[in-house]
Symmetry: C2
Subunit: 533 residues, 2 copies
């Protein structure tokens, strides 16, 4: 529709592109070098440019109308984008990182998201060699589409405490099968991404029940274990008999993800469905065996938490970028001491009340970046050790990923909202680019281990570490945390060395050491209180 | 669809209704008396019961599917509900308070919301007697539907600073008409509720330009003024020639409100469009006259801010109610010191990490209630004084409503999110009842005067008051704020009286006095810093 507004321009001094160009011209920061410094890892920048040029040519990836769609249409758009990504991936020979980049650029969690991530990873990490040989090719070729009934938030009635899961997997020795059964409504699997409409297979966690020796009616519980289960017919896509499955409905965000629920009515699965890299059920005797180090079943969760912690910087960077650009362009009021009819109004970013909100978040983005880098290094180093049978550092990885997951998601989630409000009224509008970012990201503080709960686990872990460090301060440190606590204890015996060394005004590294000392000191204080009470 | 899940029950000890009944049975609070104490004002409880019985029988008011709808369908549902409310209002002879209750119970801001509120109020407060005689009957009968191009957040390029508005209203003495014109894109009216699709009339704020004496080409600006303007054809509902108007698109929330934009191309309106209760333009000479007390044009804004401040308690009460109920039912983990296989898990509300989040917000809800009550009393008392020509207390009302708007909306907006996260994963689900509450309410910290901006105005006002109180501490107090500041100054001269009086451990009223003293002390400190620098 053509009308007189087509020829209108922004008011004097309100041309955003012009203002940003001028602002950038005033900066001495070498932007290209900074980009390379931040994103050189793993060919990020080259990959982003290459995948972006393909993605942005696809009309399906246009965001223009997506906020106006109904929930079913929004899901269909997401599914179409997921399929498109798969086709583009085949066509251009994308690897896993390319695929992740595509999803990142399409800018939403697509219904296929969990398939190459959690579903594949869990199979790779928890499946036996035979299971991997059978399933991995099918998963990698997308012959099947998998959902992951994640350990946390997995049933309607139970979340963080996996021991409380109600779904039963009873071993039937005569048929050599497990029988999955949901005895109550609260046993419904809940939240499982891609299960609502997309997936035909799922990894399902259930309480393992084995007959007591010599009995066919009395069972003992062996805790939660993962099973791989076909959920829907491969031709009709209808749920298999004995399974009730569907979409859990509207959520705070994630409009195109079909989070699902599922219940089983005495549904039989073969012995081979039990993921048995670590724990095993002997098919002939029904005897249970488990690995010496039981923390390995947390492998997937640690992977997810590490990823969430590493992802936070990208989210906060976007929110801060929007806020800095907008508040540079937006002007409001003139200086109180000048003639109110002369000259331009002041850019909002020049007001201290805006600066004290936005600039610390800009700094936080960089802190999250380097935190993510350290998290990634710790994760891959520990994985390598685990792969050669050394589980010593796993507890520390678990604690670090939990602590960082909580810290980073809290900072990013609250940071988005701070940025959004700093945009004033326009932060509430769809044009801000912060609406979906906020609605989607606000899942993070409670998902995959509620932030308040996992920080308590971290605290318990640290206090335990401190107790043992106090007992044997001179024993070899098992990991970075241990080393820091022990160094602190030894420094306390001669406090002057510590205090004099930390010249934080002139030595950046001294700031790091100061934070280390502070962290150890807080742990010691908490431990001391507990011991005294 | 019938399946085996129909006969399933919640797991043992997980029946929500039963748990809540038991919990309530343990309380000694007399709930009915408390309800009466909180909500006896203006027949609230009787009204709620009466209107609810009508609303809940209407299928259009069912929320079952509304989160799944597309934006256009969501708007149509809202419009249908607005029309239904009007029909029910006519049928049952509802008064204004009944209508407000209906909208509150339908639980969203309907497209007609601004019509009986801001549109009507502005006409009543800013219209001349002739204008009111002409327009009010038409507004009250819904013969026309009005939008309000509110003073704040009114143009794409300008918000809080109304002086920066770009829309021009030029007086044409020969035609005796005003010419509305948007010279730039940034002059677009923006955000105006109900303007996107619903309204055929609007109150529009524009810069008043009058020809300089003896000239027909040079104009002087007389600042922003409100005009009543027909926007769309009464039969075809198409925009009138010279007007471009439409919906601004998706937002963070308010899915069924058609916030709009509007531009004018030399659009002519009659002299009678100028709302002229206070300011006037002489139609024969083009001479401008304005009232002695110019703060009266803030009347509508003060009304809106007071209402927002008074509304916050109801919002936070809902979020806290959801959180308290859910965390009473939800159980997670057994006590660490008992056998992990015996007995029930602990209700989440019994954990200190949940209590420290939820219980202070429960208390805050009551604080907001009494704050709202005081705000309402101040508002109506001051309105009565203004109606008899006494403007003395208006500045204090403006400051109080601004300060409370900022405080109450901040507490409620952040409180919703705290409650939502305390629900863990289920807080993110549509079943929590907090999704739309959050998405809608998060407009409040920035709308109708950004919280950060208006608190600075409050600070400036208080410092000015302190300066004059220091100068003349014994002069008669003009309002409560003034009285408190002066009392503080006088008490400082004899500090012992103050300190001894405040026995906050044994005397509840002493807490109020302590807060008063603290408030005055903070103002004095700020004033002192300014004077010293």
């Amino acid at each position: 529709m053509v009308d007189f507004t087509d020829s209108l321009l922004p008011g004097p001094g309100s041309d955003g592109a012009e203002i940003l160009k001028r602002e950038r011209g005033q900066s001495t920061i070498r932007v290209k070098e900074l980009s390379k410094h931040l994103f050189s890892h793993n060919g990020f920048l080259e990959r982003q440019q290459r995948v972006l040029s393909i993605i942005e040519a696809e009309p399906l990836c246009s965001k223009t109308n997506q906020m106006n769609l109904s929930r079913p249409d929004r899901f269909h758009l997401g599914l179409a984008r997921a399929k498109l990504t798969k086709r583009l991936s085949d066509k251009h020979g994308w690897d896993l990182e390319d695929n992740k980049m595509a999803e990142y650029l399409i800018d939403e969690m697509l219904p296929y998201h969990l398939h190459p991530n959690l579903f594949l990873t869990t199979m790779r990490e928890q499946g036996s060699e035979e299971q991997k040989a059978y399933w991995l090719p099918r998963i990698e070729k997308y012959e099947i589409i998998g959902a992951y009934a994640q350990v946390h938030k997995t049933e309607l009635g139970h979340g963080s405490n996996v021991r409380g899961l109600e779904l039963e997997a009873k071993w039937d020795p005569r048929a050599s099968e497990f029988v999955l059964h949901s005895p109550t409504l609260t046993a419904s699997k809940w939240w499982n991404g891609a299960l609502g409409r997309t997936a035909n297979h799922a990894i399902v966690v259930a309480q393992l029940l084995l007959p007591q020796e010599g009995s066919t009616t009395t069972y003992s519980s062996y805790g939660p274990h993962p099973f791989v289960v076909q959920v829907r017919d491969m031709k009709t896509h209808l749920p298999l008999p004995g399974i009730v499955v569907g979409d859990i409905g509207a959520k705070f965000g994630y409009a195109c993800m079909d989070n699902g629920y599922m219940l089983f009515d005495h549904f039989r699965i073969p012995h081979s469905a039990f993921l048995s890299r670590y724990s095993k059920v002997d098919p002939s005797t029904g005897a249970f065996s488990q690995p010496e180090n039981s923390t390995v079943v947390y492998g997937t969760m640690t992977f997810v938490r590490s990823n969430i912690a590493m992802h936070a910087r990208l989210i906060l960077a976007r929110a801060v970028t929007v806020a800095v650009r907008y508040t540079s362009i937006r002007r409001q009021f003139r200086d109180r001491d000048v003639d109110q009819n002369i000259g331009q109004e002041i850019p909002v970013l020049d007001y201290p009340t805006v600066q004290i909100r936005i600039l610390p978040l800009l700094a936080t983005t960089f802190a999250l970046h380097y935190g993510a880098k350290a998290m990634g290094e710790l994760y891959f180093r520990t994985r390598e050790q685990v792969n050669v049978g050394d589980f010593a550092a796993l507890a520390d990885l678990h604690s670090t990923s939990s602590g960082l997951k909580s810290l980073c998601t809290g900072l990013a989630a609250d940071g988005i909202e701070t940025c959004r409000r700093a945009l004033g009224g326009h932060g509430y509008g769809g044009g801000s680019g912060l609406v979906q970012l906020s609605h989607d990201y606000l899942a993070k503080p409670t998902v995959e281990g509620d932030n308040w709960m996992i920080t308590q686990q971290v605290a318990a872990y640290l206090i335990k570490k401190m107790a043992s460090a106090v007992k044997l301060p001179d024993s070899a440190a098992s990991d970075d945390t241990d080393a820091n606590l022990k160094a602190f204890i030894k420094a306390r015996e001669n406090p002057r060395t510590t205090v004099e060394y930390l010249d934080i005004l002139n030595d950046d590294y001294a700031i790091v050491l100061a934070f280390r000392t502070r962290a150890a000191s807080l742990v010691r204080t908490s431990w001391h209180h507990l011991v005294m009470n």
